[in-house]
């Protein structure tokens, strides 16, 4: 795993994805560095989900190149990809919890099934409980996903995504369809995960507030909650970049100030609230 000598976690080079006659991604290029956060904004159908799935090879690009953790995955075989994916955590938009398995089994799933790790059962339980404690759901071990609320399911999804301590975490619309309070809780967890483990984070969303939180808040381990990071000298601020997708095209990439200064009508729509 010494290939990633530079700090690049994820690199898209002119990536295009076509579904039937829809251009879901149109020549998208960007680079994500270690420890960096990225907020991807876009309306429904702008290609946000496609971007995340292409990043881990769940969708193959029709043209262009995707480099994940130093490996060109565009032409990798599915079986080779499993190893690499075990270093990435994903929260899917629909969460994708296995509804035939309990919460505990769901969170243990990556630990049991990723070939890279041969977890011993006793550690396994401990790791699962710890991941669930992280999202404050350690009391739901034996419940089935169908018995949980939408917000709780997302939190279990986050636990499952981060239980393997991945180098990169990808979140697909983590607050979609949630009430503002639950959405804030979820954002708090993302920020906590990012700041405790310093994992590179990509969050896709259609809500600018989420991006603002990710960019300007940090986790305070003493208080156990998130707080505004001071503007100067804080680690969060400039390490969060925004990207805006419009019908598969990357129409903006830059920091919050640049986003707020944009005069593009589509881009500025996300900022105005």
């Amino acid at each position: 795993m010494a290939e990633g000598s530079d700090n690049t976690v994820l690199r898209f080079e002119d990536v295009s994805v076509v579904f039937d006659d829809v251009l879901a991604l149109d020549k998208v290029s960007f680079v994500l560095e270690r420890g960096e956060s990225r907020v991807v904004l876009g309306t429904a159908g702008s290609g946000k989900t496609t971007l995340l799935k292409t990043a881990v090879g769940l969708i193959r690009p029709d043209s262009g190149r995707v480099e994940l953790l130093g490996h060109d995955i565009s032409k990798m075989e599915e079986r080779e990809l499993y190893e690499l994916r075990s270093r990435v955590g994903i929260l899917f938009q629909e969460v994708g919890l296995f509804d035939s398995l309990t919460v505990e089994e769901n969170v243990a799933y990556p630990l049991r099934n990723q070939q890279a790790r041969k977890a011993v059962d006793s550690d396994l339980r401990e790791q699962v409980v710890e991941a669930l404690r992280f999202v404050e759901l350690e009391h739901t071990l034996d419940k089935f996903p169908s018995e949980l609320s939408g917000g709780m399911r997302r939190r279990v999804g986050i636990a499952r995504a981060v239980v393997t301590a991945p180098d990169v975490v990808l979140y697909d619309s983590p607050t979609a369809g949630l009430d503002p309070i639950t959405a804030y809780t979820i954002m708090g967890l993302l920020i906590k995960e990012r700041d405790i483990r310093n994992a590179a984070t990509v969050m896709v969303t259609h809500r600018y507030q989420d991006g603002q939180l990710l960019a300007n808040f940090r986790y305070n381990p003493q208080a156990g909650e998130i707080e505004p990071a001071s503007r100067n000298g804080s680690r969060a601020d400039l390490r969060t970049k925004f990207m805006v997708l419009q019908e598969g095209r990357l129409v903006f990439e830059g920091v919050q100030e640049e986003l707020e200064a944009s005069t593009d009508p589509y881009v500025s729509k996300f900022v105005r609230r």
Binding site: K53, V56, L58, E78, R79, Y82, R85, S86, V88, I90, F92, Q93, E94, V95, G96, L97, F98, D99, Y109, P110, N113, Q114, Q115, A116, R160
Partner: protein, 252 residues
Amino acid sequence: MLDFLKPPIQTFQDFFLLAGRTLRTLPRRPHYRDDISLQMDMIGVGSVPIVLLVGFFSGAVMALQMSRALAQYGATGQVGQIVAITLVRELGPVLTSLLVAGRVGSGIASELGSMKVTEQIDAMRALGTDPVQKLVKPRLTATAFTLPLLTIIADFVGMVGGYLMAVPVLSLTTRAQYWNSAYRSLEYNDITQGLLKPFLFAIIIALVGCYYGLRTTGGTQGVGRATTQAVVVASIWIFVTNLMVTRIFVNL
């Protein structure tokens, strides 16, 4: 100009791609034995009641239908033979498979379809398991193993149904003669085709169900569509394959 041919050809190609991938996972570990036995229970044991019912009534109705024709030739003693041969060669395999296509094929398609639209399939791939290995293989193995067994049950119950109609109800022949003529009429050839058919149909049902399930798009509505398509397409292919296999065996 031939653009209208593109979607069906694409579907056909994708289907055989899935079939090929499933074939390649057959010898490969892990085998997910728990999933296989769970599926056998759901597919096999779960289908027994309906198979009993349909087997019984089709045997009985066949004896009833044949009674007049046989009486014309004074051959009512042959009723056991007629019932046995039609059941073992045709009705047993085809009726059982159509029922299982409706019950199991739709179940597979809707289950995998809902997993697809709730991104459980993506999650599986992201978390280190191959959905073909974990989902398709156990369903294929379980169906291919249980459908021939279900067919044997249907054949036997059908013969009992035919017997009850022919002997106690219609008094066409004696009990001994019914079973004797049924037993003696069956050749290896009949048994082979009677078991080969459900085996092939099982592969069709499982793979078509998985195929339409795994390519579901468009939310819950898509799941409904996938389910219907799976049953219709599997049934059509059962009929087509049945004709082809029968054609081969008739020439043997």
